[in-house]
């Protein structure tokens, strides 16, 4: 293990910006979540939220439900937010471990390192220490953020450190996977699959029985949640985390000593020697490259919207309890009263419509910006050196992005409907959900086309497309709450869509959006035709 310290310092230096962003991101997640829970300042609001959180759908997306009898902000954070923070930190730990172990070996960089006075296990140990440091920093910062909001300090830090410990279990899983798989993607994929299984087992286990069934206890996520922090803190479930980490590390060390450098324990399967006949140009290639991401986005977001659909039935009861709270009114746009039950549900559907569209927008921008990645790696050059015009090349990723965004959007609306009817709520017809999905398509096209145009004219500024996705969501969600001026709302393409769930949509505006999208697309093609590839 010689050289571990040096390697760790080097990793910390390489990743200092990552550490900063993860810390800020998690702190912001806590601060944002708490802002909502601090609204639970009267018994009625608590009772309403507790009721909402008792539905199976919400249990699957929160925790085992400790403290629901007296749902204080602390109990709410522990029950609802810990799951998501733990997922985020687990993803962080997995990616960091793989990045500094298997991915380094794959790239050949670690060969340089290992040639120095560095022990066989040093990179693994250093990578593990790195995620320990990162999780500790995040736990300290976010614990302070939670405590600063007026929650019990000891419980706050107990919560954030328990979460960090849970994330380290997945970090240790990744370290084992890094020994087994020959490639970084395989190792990360396998570890994320373990995380997914942990999520599902905990969800199913907790839905079966309040406060968790034996099935829940298989999952590391439950070990953290079962500490009952902010309700009736107990430490011993964390022992399971420690045992798991030690066991996994021993396994990783055992496997690591048995394999060659840069080799895995699982061989990679050979693929096709000849391309399928359909692979004839940039469009089929973009499809081959992006179909996996599209499938997973449709499935992942689909599950989320399906779950959301299952709570639609409960909405009126929950909303009744918070009616009159000015913050909720601003969020729901219900200053004039909530109206009848159907009206309440429609108001809520409007918000889900926005969520679904924001998810589709994020997919769309990511998909179209794959073109940027292609260019940075030099693959665009390889294609353009063949008789392939700039326009034909750009049309590949752009077509997939546009069609993919529409697919994510429409399947999202369908999933919402499916969730609603599965719980027996059929007041609203399928057509209404579909319409809710379809009206956003022109606005989504504007966002995708904007990303393409930025890529074509100022590749360095493609970050603006992401900023726009965030802005669109903020305007849609918080415009009334923050009292944003009218002109600033109009910058958001979604503002022009109106309130589809309430039937407040002007077709002329949708045509206008479509027009803007077409203009941006033409600009994108014109710009990409005239600029240098790659831009230096």
């Amino acid at each position: 293990m010689t050289g571990t310290g040096t390697l760790l310092r080097f990793m910390l230096r390489r990743d200092r910006m990552r550490i900063l962003w993860w810390t800020l991101g998690i702190a912001a997640l806590y601060a944002g979540g708490l802002g909502e829970y601090l609204l639970l300042d009267d018994p009625e609001a608590r009772a309403a939220r507790s009721l909402l959180l008792s539905s199976p759908a919400m249990v699957s997306m929160s925790g085992p439900g400790y403290g629901l009898d007296d749902y204080t902000p602390g109990a709410a954070v522990a029950n609802e937010l810990v799951l998501w923070v733990l997922l985020a930190l687990s993803v962080m730990s997995i990616l960091q471990v793989v990045r500094h172990t298997r991915a380094e070996e794959e790239s050949g960089r670690s060969e340089l390192v290992r040639a120095g006075a560095v022990g066989r296990h040093a990179p693994s140990v250093a990578a593990l220490l790195l995620v320990v440091v990162m999780n500790t920093v995040v736990a300290l910062t976010s614990g302070a953020v939670v405590a600063a909001q007026g929650l019990d300090a000891a419980q706050s830090f107990a919560m954030t450190f328990a979460t960090a410990l849970g994330a380290l279990v997945l970090g240790a899983v990744a370290l084992v996977a890094a020994q087994v798989y020959e490639h970084g993607r395989g190792a990360a994929g396998a570890s994320l699959a373990v995380l997914g299984a942990a999520f599902l087992l905990r969800a199913v286990g907790d839905v079966r029985e309040r406060h968790g069934s034996p099935l829940s206890w298989v999952s590391p996520i439950a070990w953290v949640q079962q500490t009952r922090v902010f309700v009736d803190l107990r430490w011993w479930p964390l022992v399971l985390c420690v045992v798991a980490i030690v066991g996994l590390l021993a396994l990783a060390a055992f496997l690591g000593s048995r394999r060659d450098h840069a080799a895995g324990l699982v061989a990679v399967r050979p693929g096709r020697a000849d391309a399928r006949p359909a692979l004839t140009g940039p469009l089929p290639l973009a499809w081959v490259q992006q179909r996996g991401a599209l499938l997973w986005t449709v499935l992942g977001l689909g599950v989320l919207w399906l779950g959301s659909g299952t709570i639609i039935r409960e909405v009126p009861r929950a909303l009744d309890a918070v009616a009159g709270n000015p913050v909720y009114d601003a969020l729901l746009g219900s200053e004039g009263g909530l109206g009848g039950e159907e009206q309440m549900i429609r108001t809520f559907l409007g918000i889900f419509g926005l969520y679904i569209a924001a998810g589709a927008a994020a997919y769309g921008v990511a998909a179209v910006l794959r073109a940027k990645g292609e260019e940075e790696t030099g693959r665009t050059e390889l294609a353009l050196a063949a008789p392939v015009s700039r326009g034909r090349w750009l049309a590949g990723p752009l077509t997939i992005a546009l069609l993919g965004t529409a697919t994510v959007q429409v399947t999202g609306a369908l999933a919402l409907w499916l969730g609603a009817v599965s719980t027996g709520y059929d007041e609203l017809a399928l057509g209404e959900y579909l319409e809710l999905g379809l009206v956003y398509l022109p606005a989504l096209a504007v966002l995708v086309a904007l990303a393409a145009a930025l890529h074509a004219w100022v590749p360095r500024a493609t970050g603006l497309a992401w900023a726009m996705v965030g802005y669109v969501f903020v305007v849609g969600m918080f415009a009334d709450l923050f009292d944003l001026p009218a002109w600033s709302r109009r910058i958001s393409p979604f503002w022009w869509v109106g309130s589809p769930a309430l039937g407040d949509v002007e077709p002329a505006r949708l045509w206008g959006l479509a027009g803007v999208a077409v203009v941006l697309l033409l600009l994108a093609f014109a710009g990409f035709r005239r600029r240098d590839v790659p831009t230096l």
Binding site: E182, H183, R185, V268, P270, G271, R272, A273, D274, A275, R276, L279, T280, G281, P282, L285, V288, Q289, G292, T377, G378, R379, E381, L382, A383, L384, A385, A386, P387, V388, S389, R530, R531, D532, V533, P534, L536
Partner: protein, 313 residues
């Protein structure tokens, strides 16, 4: 094939911000010609190639392929050429075989049966396993994928930018064989390379570029005349007479077996006169090494291009 040269570059200029990458470059490659394109890192080789491929737009000057404008007629011209970059990045989810097929198909050349037979032959020659995912290939194997794809479609022009980086000597020999075959079939090749032995083996003509402009251009034989021959001799007489002759450089004398060992470089234009003078000293042994491309290279790669260039004239 048309009468127009495969590549014709005249007074080409290109700047990136304040940095002038190309400053009036001239270059031409005709059919059946293998042109070596040499120069230190950052001299503008890759920029030149990217302009030729219509990827970068030149600020001024002309870059023509087969008589057509490299930027405006890019798509049509690319039907007639193949490109191999120095650092090949492949589509990670495709296998090597799929990448080769894809590149061949978008090149729009060759009929299917011919391509299939030739692909099998090239894969065997380059010892490439086409069933592995591109992301798992080493640098050398990625390079092989691009080479196979290029040689597969038999274009009129090969644009090769350090194509053999990462290849082992055996594979370099295979590469050499295919380039020769292409040349014998009348195809043109622009070969940017740092491997001098490769250039000496393959190239008929050479252009050396430095700071965005061609500092030497001609056949290898012509260029050799601009360099010096290294002479080592053991003589009985006093070598001082030789030291003073024009064209003699870096004379070193060491006592040897009762005589004197002298070693010096001599400008090729002066070889006759200098050797005449040496022979009057009572030569016991003499070796003369012809100028290598490496000498030529070092001269132009040196820090002071002006001084080095004038030194040879």
């Amino acid at each position: 094939m048309t009468a127009a040269p495969a590549i014709e570059i005249h007074d080409l200029r290109k700047s990136f911000g304040d940095v002038q990458a190309l400053a009036g470059l001239d270059l031409s490659v005709g059919p059946g010609e293998v042109r070596g394109f040499l120069g230190p890192n950052g001299a503008g080789k890759s920029t030149t190639i990217r302009v030729l491929l219509g990827l970068l737009r030149a600020d001024s000057g002309t870059a023509r392929l087969f008589g057509g404008d490299a930027w405006r007629d890019a798509v049509a011209l690319h039907r007639r050429l193949a490109y191999v970059p120095g650092d090949v990045s492949l589509w990670p989810t495709l296998t090597g075989g799929e990448c080769i097929d894809y590149l061949a198909r978008i090149s729009g050349r060759g009929d299917r049966a011919r391509l299939r037979a030739r692909k099998a032959e090239l894969l065997e020659s380059f010892e490439l396993d086409p069933r592995k995912k591109a992301r798992t290939y080493s640098k050398g194997n990625r390079q092989k994928v691009a080479l196979v794809a290029a040689f597969l479609t038999e274009p009129e022009l090969y644009v090769l930018d350090e194509p053999t980086s990462g290849l082992d000597p055996l594979m370099e020999a295979v590469f050499t064989r295919y380039v020769r075959e292409a040349r014998d079939e009348g195809r043109a090749v622009l070969l940017s390379s740092h491997i001098l032995s490769e250039v000496e083996k393959l190239c008929d003509t050479v252009t050396i570029i430095r700071n965005g402009t061609a500092v030497e251009s001609g056949t290898l034989a012509e260029l050799r005349h601009l360099t010096r021959t290294s002479v080592t001799a053991v003589v009985d007489g006093d070598p001082a007479a030789v030291a003073g002759l024009p064209g003699v450089h870096d004379l070193v004398t060491t006592p040897s077996d009762g005589g004197t060992r002298i070693a010096f470089d001599v400008d090729d234009a002066r070889v006759g006169a200098v050797l005449g003078a040496v022979s009057t000293l009572g030569v016991r042994g003499l070796t003369a090494t012809p100028p290598s491309l490496e000498d030529l290279f070092m001269r132009h790669y040196g820090d002071v291009p002006g001084a080095a260039a004038t030194g040879t004239r």
